[in-house]
């Protein structure tokens, strides 16, 4: 197994108490797998992505372990985690378009970053140029300032930079959210390409766009309110979703060619629960059409079919 996450709990400290953003998450990602991590805003997917590489000042590692290639990742310890960052675990952040220092030429930024991590430029220079060409950036980009590039170009540059040292795990945090559809396609395809060329081993692709996940992911994890709802290979999830939330999510996707007059879009009424002091039972209970009294206890994340995990009493 490439990445194993066991009962990971990461909470946010706030003045009003702890927000249990990630509350006992367990899953694993195989070597070379591209996993899509989907869910609505506030479900904890970004928190999960961030906690695998660098905890925010407000985040607290409460419980659980993370193992990468057999080694435990010291995610609670900022300094100890440093030797894994960039080299074994890397991230393409949500803010990729503003992730580069505006007053430094890009090439210089790359050199200084590499040298500060103990990597000589001479060793990676050719590879860098090759990858720039792969994503469609001219080598002259290195002489430019970030502001001279378009948003899409900056994003591609960050993608190249983040994966330059061939990390085992790449976290792509909402990399397509701010893009137009054609660029989304290009970026998604690039992620697959990186994996196919072994630039990265496993990828976690965080997004709220299920349709995009369907295009490129090998398997999908659906999160809700800080917990995993369902995990399955992509085709299995789309063909036979077991969790009511997943089913309603898929039903909410607009279908090409269908007009509002013919069939209305089904939404999921209600809103996610506050994670400040969440209930003990299943967190989807209040919005779930299938809820019954057993849902007062949290259903375990069980395997109901090969590689298909669900956290729902009705599904297992």
């Amino acid at each position: 197994m490439s990445l194993t996450v066991d009962n990971l709990k990461v909470w946010y400290r706030t003045l009003r108490g702890d927000v249990q953003a990630l509350d006992g998450v367990t899953f694993s990602v195989a070597d070379g797998e591209l996993v899509g991590l989907a869910g609505e805003s506030g479900c904890g997917k970004s928190t999960l992505g961030k906690s695998l590489i660098r905890l925010d000042a407000r985040m607290r590692h409460v419980d659980g372990t993370v193992e990468l290639d057999g080694k435990e990742l010291p995610i609670g310890d900022d300094t100890a985690m440093n030797r894994f960052r960039f080299k074994e675990v890397s991230i393409i952040p949500q803010y990729a378009m503003s992730a580069m220092n505006p007053t430094r030429r890009i090439g210089r930024l790359v050199v200084e970053l590499l040298e500060s991590r103990g990597v000589r430029l001479a060793g990676v220079r050719e590879e860098l140029l090759r990858r720039l060409e792969l994503v469609g950036l001219a080598p002259e980009v290195l002489d430019r300032y970030p502001i001279e590039l378009s948003g899409g170009m900056r994003q591609r540059m960050v993608m190249v930079l983040s994966t330059l040292l061939n990390p085992s795990l790449l976290i792509a945090d909402e990399v397509t959210s701010a893009l137009d559809v054609s660029t989304q396609k290009a970026v998604a395809e690039t992620l697959v390409d990186f994996r196919d060329r072994h630039y990265v081993k496993s990828t976690i692709f965080i997004t709220h766009d299920l349709s995009l996940v369907y295009q490129i992911a090998d398997s999908v994890i659906v999160m809700y309110a800080g917990r995993l709802a369902e995990k399955a290979p992509t085709d299995a999830l789309v063909a036979s979703p077991r969790h009511p939330y997943t089913r309603m999510l898929l039903a909410a996707l607009p279908e090409v060619g269908v007009r509002y007059g013919t069939r209305r879009l089904a939404g999921i009424p209600g809103s996610p629960p506050s994670l400040l002091d969440p209930s003990r039972g299943c967190r989807f209970r209040d919005r779930c059409p299938l809820a019954f009294d057993k849902c007062a206890t949290q259903p375990p994340f069980t395997e109901v079919a090969p590689d298909h995990h669900v956290a729902c009493w009705k599904a297992s």
């Binding site: 952040p93 803010y95 503003s98 992730a99 580069m100 007053t103 970053l113 500060s116 300032y145 930079l161």
Partner: protein, 329 residues
């Protein structure tokens, strides 16, 4: 970059024009005959009074239409003729001012440069350590809230009067003769130190606080988060943050120039230091309007020049302006 400098030079040109015009206009708004009022206030010997009368009339050109008076004023200005001092008659204003300017420059330039640089460095450093931050911050706010002349007074009293380490008056001891000897230079330095220190400290406090706030802001920027996520050591992130925070601090320097000059002027007054400030005080007390007007124009020119220098420095520090983009101010 040409657009950048072009715009700045235009502003300075307009400002100079406005300042000169204001300078010319104000005396004409005084009720009554300005020449007589001025002559009456200055008690002069009859011959001097005659000469002054003639001079004033020619300068104010009261026998000549208003627009011509204005042009004459500009003409004289561009020739370097700022009139004759009433108080120090018959010395021309320009030479009186030029004698005082070196002292002011000797105070201002080192004080500005040193306080800006060390203040920024210190503020950046203070942002790193909590305990330092908690002591530096209030101290900095107190320093920057201190009126320049009061700090000067305190220093003069504590280190000059009470401790006797430094002299508290004059540019050099009254009983020494100016020369190029080490002894004299040492004497100059001793008289220079307290006023310089006073200017330096107030400025230092302000820059330290400003930089500390800017650094905290920069350390929260996206590029700082990204670098940290990729495991870059703190010193690299801090280096970038510092470099970026210097830019608004440089802009702030330009904004503060007027205040700094005012501070230097009052500090000189406290120490009777023979610069422009002290000169202005004496001019005010002696009702020497030409000297005051001349000092005003000198100050304006100096401040505009300093602003221009800061603009040049900004272009050097912010690489984006060189590539043709507006990187800020």
């Amino acid at each position: 970059m040409r657009r950048y400098f072009g715009r700045k030079l235009l502003i300075y040109a307009v400002t100079f024009f406005v300042a000169v015009t204001v300078d010319w206009v104000i005396p004409r708004f005084m009720p009554g005959d300005p020449v007589q009022t001025m002559l009456a206030r200055a008690s002069l010997r009859p011959e001097a009074s005659q000469a002054m009368q003639a001079y004033y009339t020619s300068v104010f050109g009261l026998d000549v239409p208003i627009w011509q008076q204005y042009l004459n004023f500009w003409g004289a200005l561009l020739r370097g003729d700022l009139g004759v001092s009433i108080w120090l008659f018959p010395q021309p204003v320009t030479s009186v001012l030029l004698r005082a300017v070196p002292y002011t420059i000797a105070l201002l330039v080192p004080a500005i440069l040193l306080s800006w640089w060390t203040g920024n460095k210190f503020g950046a450093y203070a942002a790193r350590r909590r305990w330092l931050d908690n002591t530096v911050l209030p101290a900095g706010y107190v320093l920057t809230a201190t009126p320049y002349m009061w700090l000067g007074i305190l220093l003069a009293w504590a280190l000059g009067s009470v401790a006797g380490i430094f002299p508290i008056a004059g540019g050099y001891s009254f009983d020494t003769e100016p020369s190029w000897s080490w002894a004299f230079l040492g004497n100059l330095a001793r008289h220079w130190f307290l006023p310089f220190a006073s200017l330096f400290l107030v400025g230092f406090g302000g820059w330290a606080i400003g930089m500390r706030n800017m650094i905290i802001y920069e350390l929260e920027a996206d590029y700082a988060h990204y670098l940290a996520a990729l495991g870059a050591p703190r010193r690299l992130v801090r280096r970038y943050a510092f470099r970026n925070a210097l830019l608004p601090q440089l802009t702030g320097l330009a904004l503060q120039l007027g205040v700094l000059v005012a501070g230097a002027l009052v500090t000189e007054i406290v120490f009777s230091y023979p610069g422009l400030g002290y000169l202005i005080l004496q001019a005010i007390n002696n009702q020497d309007f030409f000297l005051i007007q001349g000092a005003f124009l000198f100050i304006i020119t100096g401040v505009l020049l300093a602003n221009f220098l800061v603009d040049v420095a900004y272009v050097l520090v912010d690489p984006r302006t060189r590539v043709g983009m507006r990187g800020g101010a």
